[in-house]
């Protein structure tokens, strides 16, 4: 039996060995890119199996590819920037370059070069990635949110073309619900499919959350009231009650369960249907968001690459992005993405990837009428806080469950005034 002293000596020795710095070889020439996992498996695979080996062969630098689950990238990005550790090249979405601007490097030079070669860039994208006149991220594509519907069921009620206005969509929805094919638009606390149609609905009736100055809250208006009244009617007369509690997986599941005839979603429903539900894929199509009295709108969801400020070799990271955004690489990668990502470069407006399926084309078309959440307000922290608090979603949701238009708008206005520090 060992004595106390022997035990302690052994324990301390073991601990010291564990804590001692290990001898390591020379730092490998490598860097890591972190992305949200793509719905298009071929997109991620193309990076890992083709792009990364090609770059390593060319430069000797190995580029790792880390993916996080859909909806988790913001959390991952927060930990990377806050701890100043982890992948050097980070994927961003929405307005995140504004949120993390102090943790991201200026990539204006790279973006300008790319714009000259394959551009120019679409004008609307500047709001998302340019912070204080500096590019903080380089976008590669938009994940558009459009109307996804069953052509066979629409035809059954005499609607052969996707309705052009919200009122026409409401009329079609009434008929379809009577036939047992309700609509299913997410009105719950998801991360994308709710805002994907609610902001465009609000904007198309002339409503706005906040003005350009970011200080004047505009939500309390007659235009917002019209949008809220329409939404209540749209929900009550065309949808399932359950949509109030839906998250982003719910409408996909309901569509494949042949439970709903129309929803607002990214192209993922069609892509998954082609792979796993070919019969449903044959009768699935996309339509632009309907227009309201004040026009037609869509929501931007720009996917971009940024360089974290902790990158040990920013020049190497920039060199990689220059190579990645060269037409030879970017073009093939976008094709591997099956047109899921609509590029913001006008040089790609007629890219062959759009010819693969005419049902992809509305996603290209939607770029012209797309804006970031909270538009025309600034794309800063307040916008993110408004989204995180689901101000707009809950305004519509409460109206749908029966609260008065006046009350739900008053609540949203009070929240927005607090968020935007407006008087």
């Amino acid at each position: 039996m060992s004595t106390r002293r022997e035990f302690l000596t052994a324990a301390l020795a073991g601990g010291a060995a564990a804590l001692a710095p290990r001898r390591v070889g020379a730092a490998p020439k490598s860097m890591t890119v972190v992305h949200e996992s793509s719905f298009i498996k071929g997109f991620d695979d193309f990076f890992v199996k083709t792009l990364s080996p090609e770059y390593e062969k060319l430069t000797g630098i190995k580029v790792g590819y880390e993916t996080v689950s859909v909806g988790s990238m913001l959390t991952r990005l927060t930990t990377i920037v806050e701890t100043k550790a982890g992948p050097e090249i980070v994927g961003t979405g929405l307005n995140w370059p504004h949120l993390f601007d102090q943790g991201l490097l200026d990539v204006t030079d790279v973006a300008t070069e790319i714009g000259k070669k394959i551009g120019p860039w679409h004008d609307n994208i500047f709001d998302a990635v340019v912070v204080n006149k500096k590019w903080k991220a380089i976008p590669w594509g938009n994940i558009g949110q459009l109307e996804c519907y069953r052509t066979d069921w629409f035809k059954e009620v005499g609607v052969n073309k996707f309705p052009d206005t919200w009122e026409d969509l409401l009329s079609a929805g009434r008929l379809l619900k009577k036939k047992g094919h309700p609509f299913g638009f997410e009105i719950g606390h998801g991360f994308g499919d709710n805002h994907g149609w609610m902001y465009p609905l609000l904007w198309s009736y002339g409503g706005r959350e906040v003005d350009k100055d970011g200080k004047t809250v505009l939500i309390d208006s007659a235009e917002t009231a019209k949008a809220v009244d329409f939404c209540r009617k749209f929900y009550q007369e065309t949808m399932l009650e359950d949509v109030l509690g839906w998250t982003d997986v719910s409408n996909n599941k309901a569509f494949f369960g042949e439970q709903i005839s129309c929803t607002n979603n990214a192209m993922s429903i069609l892509i998954v249907a082609k792979r796993d539900f070919p019969e449903i894929a044959k009768v699935t199509d996309h339509g632009l968001n309907p227009q309201g009295p004040k026009g037609r709108f869509h929501l931007y969801n720009p996917q971009s690459h940024a360089i974290a400020s902790h990158a040990s070799d920013p020049a190497a990271a920039k060199a990689f992005l220059r190579w990645l955004y060269d037409d030879k690489q970017l073009s093939r990668w976008l094709v591997a993405g099956d047109a899921y990502y609509a590029p913001y470069l006008q040089g790609y407006d007629n890219h062959p990837m759009w010819n693969a399926d005419p049902r992809y084309l509305p996603f290209k078309e939607s770029l012209k009428t797309s804006h970031l959440h909270g538009w025309p307000g600034p794309a800063g922290h307040a916008l993110s806080e408004s989204n995180a608090k689901y101000v707009l979603v809950d305004m519509f949701a409460k109206a749908c469950r029966g609260d008065s238009t006046k009350d739900v708008i008053a609540t949203a206005a009070a929240q927005l005034k607090q968020i935007y520090k407006a008087k």
């Binding site: 359950d242 109030l244 509690g245 998250t247 369960g257 949701a397």
Partner: protein, 312 residues
């Protein structure tokens, strides 16, 4: 031959040398105890105390993500106090915690009393009853998502096919039912924790006490009230205290099942704090929302601890 005993005390210089040596220090009970405690204390300092105090520090700052913070005192708490959603979150958290705690206590007590009886296959039953607690939360929540799905819900199917209702409930789309749903899941998952802990208490009760009570003419109810309950009371208090803490800070069930929806009907402190801090990038405000549950928890823990200390 007489043997001289060893001197009981060494000479003063030798004793002093020993006390100063490493060996001397290790031989001292107090020093050795502290040495053994040190790893645990360091662990608690690094992973409990530091995050806790850092959280308090964050809550006192205007601290957007990726930016340095500015000390604002209690401004975040004042802002929350003027936020209607925060008060809804507070109500939700208290309803969720109090209802599930009562249900888990009653269910766990019943479970423990049943599996404390001798019957064939008792060990197997005990193992199965533990399953909800063993299965990773997120996996069981995915299963519950299907159970509450309007189309595929097995509950709706049974209710409709038994003629009790004509169309299925919207378990997660209706404000009241969504709260009921998360309460059901939390209760289902938490009962085994109560059951097994109370069972451990029940097994410490000597059968002699029950025999004596029975000889005195005590009924089953009287034996439970006057023998079982007083003995397991400390365990009930401890398990309730743990459960309240876990339920107050329950994130996974709510986040995965409803994400606080519909219209914040199931939003609780931790999910709201996560949304503010991570999704909204307002780390200071998020920390303040998370810390808002501290006073209630602290009062409850202190009250229960004092009650236990008062007990003979």
């Amino acid at each position: 031959m007489a043997v001289r005993p060893e001197p009981l005390a060494r000479s003063a210089p030798v004793a002093a040398r020993r006390q100063l040596s490493v060996r001397g220090v290790l031989e001292r009970e107090g020093a050795f105890s502290w040495l053994m405690l040190t790893p645990g204390v360091l662990f608690l300092l690094a992973f409990v105390a530091y995050p806790f105090f850092y959280g308090i520090w964050l809550s006192l700052q205007d601290r957007p993500v990726a930016r340095s913070g500015v000390f604002v005192g209690l401004a975040n708490f004042v802002t929350l106090a003027h936020d209607a959603v925060f008060w809804q979150v507070t109500r939700n958290t208290f309803v969720y915690t109090s209802v599930t705690t009562v249900l888990k206590l009653l269910g766990g007590l019943a479970m423990a009393l049943v599996i404390n009886q001798a019957f064939r296959g008792r060990n197997l039953v005990r193992a199965f009853l533990l399953l909800p607690f063993i299965v990773p939360t997120i996996l069981s929540v995915v299963a519950w998502m299907w159970i509450f799905d309007p189309t595929f819900s097995v509950i709706n199917w049974v209710l409709v096919h038994s003629g009790m209702i004509t169309s299925g409930f919207s378990w997660l789309g209706n404000a009241t039912l969504s709260m009921v749903s998360i309460i059901i899941v939390n209760t289902w998952r938490g009962i085994p924790f109560y059951g097994i802990t109370i069972l451990a208490g029940l097994q410490t009760i000597s059968p002699d006490l029950y025999e004596a009570a029975a000889i005195d003419g005590a009924t089953v109810r009287q034996r439970f009230l006057h023998v079982t309950l007083p003995i397991i009371k400390p365990i009930l208090i401890i398990v309730t205290m743990f459960s309240v803490i876990f339920t107050f800070s329950d994130f996974q069930i709510v986040y995965a099942l409803t994400h606080g929806g519909p219209a914040n009907a199931t939003q609780v402190f931790v999910t709201y704090a996560f949304d503010l801090g991570m999704s909204g990038g307002q780390l200071g405000m998020g920390a303040a929302a998370a810390l808002a549950m501290l006073p209630a928890l602290a009062v409850m823990i202190v009250a229960l601890t004092l009650y236990m200390r008062r007990e003979p």
